[in-house]
Structure formats: C-alpha cells, structure tokens
Amino acid sequence: MDAATITSWMREINVAVRAERDHLVQLDAAIGDGDHGTNMVRGFEAVVQALDADGGSPPGKLLILAGRTLVSTVGGASGPLWGSALRSGGRVLGDQPNFDGGQLVEVLAAALASVKDLGTASVGDKTMVDALEPAVETLRARLAEGVALDRALDDAASAAETGMRATIPIQARKGRASYLGERSVGHQDPGATSTALIVRALQKAVGQGS
C-alpha cells in the first residue's frame, strides 16, 4: 500500500459520507444538533481537494494533511477528533513510501489512541470510539491469526458496524448526546455511524488497490 491507497481511502470516505449525509444529519438531530452529516461532508470534501492539490507526498504526510484539513474545516466535536486521529496515524508512517498491513494496524491504533486521549471516551460511552476500537482490535487480531488483509479489513469494518449498532441501547456519557440523559437511549450514535463508514471505506480502498 502506498500514497494512492490513502487517496482512494479519502475518496471512498467522501463518497460514503455524501451518500449518508442526510442519514447522519437525522441521527444527529435525534440526540445532537443535526450537523454531523454536513460536518463530515464539508470535511472530506476539503480533504479530497487538498490531496488532489498535493504534489506526491508519501502516505504518512497525506494522512497528516488530511487530518490538518479536517481540523481546519470541520469544527464541532468530530473535526478535532478525526483530525487529530489522522494526524497521529500519519505520524506513524513517517516519510516511508509504502506500508504493510501491520503498519496499517499501528496507524489505526494511533488514531484511536488520539481520539481517546482528546475526547476521554471509552467503549460504551456511545461515541465514535464504540466503532473504532473494535475495528482496530479486530484488524490486529485477524492479521495476527494470518488472515489476508482484505479479509481482515472486511472483518474490521463489520466489527465497526456491530459497534455502531451497539450504541443504540446505551445512554451517552460523552458529547452532546450526554445532555439528553436517558433520552439518548434507543438512538444510534452519529459519530459511530460515520466511523463505520470510514472503516468500510478503508476496506474498499485497499481492495481496489490489490
């Protein structure tokens, strides 16, 4: 995998959040403020533009550029969280032109660590962590088991989607939804939903490349 993998990942995310924009807005309207879809679209639109304008940076630098772009265009909670996540992930790769599955796990792990550090959320708080953490763990475990990257990423995306659905019955403890108290129960977390899209987009991007 190389810079092109990152670029197509970001493109896939852009396509996915555009397609799911209204759904994300709806989910956020129920327990937040109804802007998550707009936020993600604005952010990844800008990311794709920034990557298009880039003149051949290595994959780590592209991730950092993507993260910086999210921080500077999204706002809200998701902007700094995903922005810092991609920046931290990018730093793992340094200037290397290629990376393998093992390194991809470290990228995602760094991203997760950054989200948890900045947002102080744990699994079960009804946030994007509920989708991202199982994805990272599943990917790491499958690869350790010797499963092919493609297949492992598919499992990771499924794990993110399971985590996403698992946010429905629980009460939020972080972010805007926590202000609702018990009324947040019964609704799927928008950030976990977009996170599942992001992991699924990664699987698609890597699949295309191979």
Partner: protein, 340 residues
C-alpha cells in the same frame, strides 16, 4: 438552492453562505465598532489590538446571534470566532482571532462547555502558545438542566457566557491584568445558573428541517442552545407554572444566601417576542423575591439564541459590589450598549 430554501421561513441565499453573509452584514452595519476578516471568518474589534490591554475572545457555533459577534466592541469582547450554524468554529479561527487582538497582555478564551468548542479552542490555545501568546481559557458551564457527573460531558455553557463577557470585558477595559480578567470570568460562571425551555424547535439552514418535532401543547424543559431536545418533555402550562420550574431549578442549584442581590437575565431563544419575555420577567421577578433574592439588575431580550426557536432561558447571577460596578461600566457593541 431555491429548492433548498423552500422548506424554510427564512431570508437566505445559499444556505452554505448564511454565516458569512450575516457577518458581512453585521460589519457593514457596525463598521464604527467592528471589522470582519472574511478569510479567517472572525469579527474583530475595530481598534484591536490595544497595546497593554488584556483581550477577550469567544466563539462557538453560529445561530446564537447576537452572541458572539454582537458583543465585540468597547468593554466586552475583542474578537469572536463564529462557526457554521450550531457547529464549533475551527481552531484556525480562534488562532487568527487571538493573534489579531493580542496586545501583549494576554488573551482570555471564553469557551462554552460543548465537546466541540472545548476541543477546537484547546487546539487553538496550543497553537497560540506555540506562537508565544499568553492564553488562558475558561469553560462556561452554567446550565443546571445537566448534572455535572462522570456520566456526562458536564454542564452546558449558556446564558452566563453573555454576563461573563460583559463583566470581564469591563475589567479588561479598565486595565485589569490577565489573572484578574480570567478570575472574573470564572467568578461569573461560578455564581451564575441557567435553565432553558423550548416552546418550539428550530430549523438549521443547512438541513431545512426542524431538529425535533414538538407537538402543540408540549414543551421541552432543560434545553441548551443548539435546538437540541431538552432533559424532558412536559405539557405547556401557564407562564407562571413554567417560570416556577425555571426559578426552582436555578435557585436550588445556585444556593445564594437570603437577601443576595442578583442580576436576572431573561433571554429569548429567538422566536419569542418581547411581549412574552417581559411577561416572563414579571413572573421571575416576583418569584425570586419570594425566594428571598433581590433582583437589582436585569437584562431582558434575545441575546443567546437558537435560530428562530420559541422559548426562553433564565440566568441568575449572584452579585457583589465589584460585579455590579463592572456590569454598569460602559459598553459599546452592536448588541449591548450603555454609558457611551
């Protein structure tokens, strides 16, 4: 575009440009007080930076007008960083604002307690520190509808923000240092409590749809300022009954001693007319006196809003002589002006 605006009873061109266009209009109307840096999307006091003066900046999602852009000017904020509607601004905005107003005496960031605002301001403060600017941050969290516990993101910042900006802004104007100004923001936050109710939802321009459906005859109790549903839904009672809930929630949590002088802030959410806000003020005034508090200052109007939401919030600030003097000090901003 015409199609997108169809659902809304709004003056809009391109919904994605509403914040920028509104800020440009604000600056055109008040060019004696503020300027609009369109590239950075910030409103800056016209005579900033003022050498030696502690500067105050605030920011947050738009849709709460006049907060914050309407409070930039003499005796209040030095700059405001407005994000998209109901979306925290990005760190670059707060960084640009901080740099534009720093007069060497330090910059206070007044941050409403929402995850997005807190995180984006945090990144900006780090960047500003890297550039050698002294920055302090105070997080406002006066909304008693939310319990501050391990199981929430803490209380939201609502009405106290306006009062803190006015009072600390006056101190900064008078030459108070960074520690003093910062402490005043904290003190106001500490001695103020708020509670809001929604009588309708509101319609963000980007989606064109109400955030939540509120059947006639029902209200949301314990709302914030982002058009979000509140802590619970209840039947719409009389104004007196609704005010009972608000006063009770605020007074119980404030725990001011009997006879305390208070500032009463009856705030409209954007779609509730002054006819009703003054009726509410009358009820609040009576009930607070009955609860042993003495309203000696007040502010009645729509100052921290949720677009066109019908509803109101009550903020009560326990006063002392210093706070009274700073409240009364001259202020000259688009939305708040006296003594000048």
């Amino acid at each position: 575009m015409a199609v997108e605006t169809r659902n809304m009873r709004k003056f809009l061109n391109d919904p994605s440009q509403v914040v920028k266009e509104s800020l440009a209009g604000l600056a055109a109307a008040h060019s004696d007080l503020v300027r609009y840096d369109a590239a950075a999307q910030i409103i800056v006091r016209k005579d900033a930076p003022k050498r030696g003066k502690v500067a105050l900046i605030s920011g947050g999602g738009s849709g709460h007008e006049p907060l914050h852009g309407g409070f930039v000017g003499m005796g209040m904020l030095d700059a405001a960083a407005p994000g998209e509607v109901f979306t925290s601004p990005v760190p670059a905005q707060m960084l640009a604002a901080t740099k534009a107003v720093d007069g060497g005496a330090g910059v206070v960031h007044i941050v409403k307690n929402y995850t997005g605002d807190v995180l984006n301001f945090k990144l900006a403060a780090e960047d500003a520190a890297d550039e050698g600017i002294k920055v302090t941050s105070v997080v406002i969290d006066d909304d008693v509808a939310v319990q501050d516990s391990l199981y929430t993101a803490g209380r939201r910042g609502v009405g106290a923000t306006v009062l803190a900006e006015k009072i600390a802004g006056a101190a900064a104007e008078n030459g108070a240092d960074l520690t003093k100004v910062t402490d005043l923001v904290k003190r106001v936050n500490d001695r103020a409590r708020s509670f809001g109710v929604a009588l309708s939802s509101c319609v963000p321009p980007a989606s064109g749809k109400v955030i939540f459906e509120l059947p006639e005859g029902e209200i949301e109790l314990g709302i914030g300022i982002h058009g979000e549903p509140g802590r619970r839904r209840a039947a719409l009672g009389t104004a007196s009954e609704v005010v009972d809930v608000m006063v009770e929630a605020v007074v119980t949590d404030l725990k001011a001693k009997r006879g305390s002088k208070v500032l009463v802030f009856v705030n409209g959410m954007g779609g509730t007319p002054l006819l009703e806000l003054y009726l509410v003020y009358g009820e609040v005034d009576k009930k607070l006196r009955k609860a042993g508090l003495e309203p000696v200052r007040n502010l009645v109007g729509s100052y921290i809003t949720s677009l066109e939401m019908a509803g109101a919030s009550l903020t009560v600030l326990e006063l002392d002589e210093e706070l009274i003097k700073l409240w009364d000090a001259p202020v000259h901003t688009p939305a708040l002006r006296w003594g000048v």
